[in-house]
Symmetry: C2
Subunit: 372 residues, 2 copies
């Protein structure tokens, strides 16, 4: 028998009998996807079929149960997308089910090496010790390459460790990808030469399906210090592949664009920690961007804390990533963010700095607030 | 000024003032993603910033409003993932917003050529006229290549027009991709030789990000008649690329694995028609698999009908695709499916046929029921 990994689901149900029936349906749906009475005896039934391991009332007052189901590594076939498909492929379409957590096994850990650099590597690249990382974003779309490069320069001079493209910057004619990449790497390099800093430029990697891996490599060749990818758009295997690719070596920042439906409803998708924490770490994201509590998105403090914890918790192999809360982060929020995230965090601040009369001073004030 | 495309959002709101504020937030969030007071004057504000075009009370009793926002083609930069990002990237993370519909523009239609074959091409390949298509799936995972090929043979002999891999079949050691592909194409070919039929085998295309396009081409070279892809896992540009790739020519069947959170909650994601209808057609899916009403998933009859309508409606260029409802489809459901879908549909029946004492007879009975 192959080792088994586990998925814990929240199952909305009125009572234990209904919960058990729904949980057994998940075990069937996620593996053999045929009626129970025609599941072939022997290997398919004994090994491939999902197995309900535990079922207990949800401890937090939600109207349902927690079901832990185990799945064979044999079912994964060395395919990360199939791993995700087993975790929640068809069952994602059934309301009242939510992936709460994932329990790994040796084969999954071997398939998913996790972040190549992790928080330690991101700090080393930035030349800093055991303190929070700072990231900002050049924007908006529609500015010229020169204007965006100037912003990158100023963010770097202001002491931001990572300066990323806005996730809406692609290959628009106002600032085409290759031109912008080159100009921003150069601008950040100039700022570093002035300041003695080690800021990295982080381009947004997107494009046609056959060009994405290539653009990531172009970014490395051009001197970028990391790349940003939106896994929910580009595909869930892209970051994992790049993180393990011998011809690529940059850290990967994951962006949550288009992923929201996976977490915002209490009645479907994933828990925040399972999605932005566990899955993104398995995908090889060194940093994971997500909306901070109290900003213009609806994540709670506890949901954000759970993501940060999942970025750092011992997983039996993968390095710790860094949570990068953003979205409405401003100076006033820094004290409560310090309280929630501690030092293992990357502050992602964009709009609030662009509102400052002097961008470079604004960055310095942000650093003072974070490191106070 | 570049042409603009539109997105209609459901916006949960207590009153018109709140709805307007939320709608203006969407226009900002999806384009410039900076505070309104620092949006640069001129091109960025006039062209790139989303524009609220109309706002009206939701006509269907839902607690909110419908906001139509227009976006410039300049913001898309020829990148389909960026198009999706504009439609719902960050706003997907805000509860109480739903994409109801998408209004296309010339540039989007030029970026997204739509299905290469469409329902007409799928019928021509199957050698049938203006009647429903029949598809089944070989499964479960864990069977040997020989056993799966035997199923493919029998489905073909029974008269199914398309025989697809279960979406859980990847490259497991019990039936590795290349071996299974070859064996199933051969088995279906044998059945066709016996019956004079024109059944196509449809392998499931997944794998590492750098292998997916290659596997699709391997499938074509090996004699497959179409390929199946799960866009929510593999990435949303894969099908679109293949549908336009001059070195590829097969029809594409889209599978909904992992996409469920995008539609099942009334409070986030997309309307069924926008997601499985409009977007999948823009992605180039010739056939789109989705859960039929009344089966083991929760889609309503009206939601299913809306998907079917969106597959066929005039879009200003893209061919009509075919809705492929599946998931718990059995003989008893055929009459009501005929009433809902009419003739422009592909019946996807798997488990119910595998429960039949004689698979070939079961397929023939299904065809009789569908064509009665």
């Amino acid at each position: 028998m192959a080792p088994r990994f586990t998925v814990r689901y929240f199952v909305r149900a009125a009572d234990a009998a209904e919960a058990k029936a729904r949980a057994l349906d998940i075990a069937l749906e996620q593996t053999v996807e045929i009626p129970r009475d025609v599941v072939p005896k022997g290997y398919v039934e004994d090994e491939i079929l999902g197995r309900l391991e535990t079922l207990e009332q949800a401890p937090d007052g939600r109207p349902g149960f927690l079901a832990t189901i185990s799945y064979s590594e044999d079912d994964v076939g060395g395919d990360f997308l199939q791993f995700l498909n087993i975790v929640f492929g068809n069952s994602s379409i059934k309301p009242g089910l939510k992936v709460e957590d994932i329990g790994l096994s040796p084969g999954i850990l071997s398939l998913c090496k996790g972040p190549r650099h992790g928080i330690t590597g991101l700090r080393a690249r930035a030349g800093i010790g055991d303190i929070p990382l700072l990231m900002s974003a050049i924007k908006p779309v529609g500015l010229s390459t020169a204007a965006l490069a100037r912003l990158a320069h100023d963010f770097a001079l202001g002491g931001m460790h990572y300066v990323k493209d806005d996730h809406g910057l692609v290959d628009q004619r106002t600032a085409p990808f290759s031109e912008r990449l080159k100009a921003c790497v150069e601008a950040v390099g100039e700022a570093n030469a002035k300041s003695g800093g080690r800021t990295s430029f982080v381009p947004n990697i997107t494009g046609p399906a056959d060009a994405i891996l290539e653009r990531a490599k172009e970014a490395e060749a051009a001197g970028a210090g990391a790349v940003m990818i939106a896994p929910a758009l580009a595909g869930y295997d892209v970051a994992r592949m790049l993180a393990a690719d011998p011809d690529f070596s940059l850290p990967i920042v994951a962006h949550p664009a288009f992923s929201g439906a996976n977490v915002v409803s209490p009645d479907c998708g994933f828990s925040h920690r399972a999605f932005y924490g566990v899955l993104h770490r398995l995908m090889g994201a060194d940093a994971v961007v997500f909306p901070n509590f109290g900003g213009r998105f609806g994540f709670t403090r506890e949901e954000c804390r759970s993501i940060a914890e999942a970025c750092a918790v011992e997983m039996g192999g993968p390095k710790a990533g860094v949570p990068a809360p953003g979205g409405g982060v401003n100076f006033a929020r820094v004290p409560e963010m310090r309280a929630v995230y501690g030092k293992d965090v990357m502050y992602l601040v964009g709009g609030a700095l662009l509102q400052e009369p002097n961008l470079i001073d604004g960055c310095r004030r942000l650093a003072e607030a974070v490191y106070a």
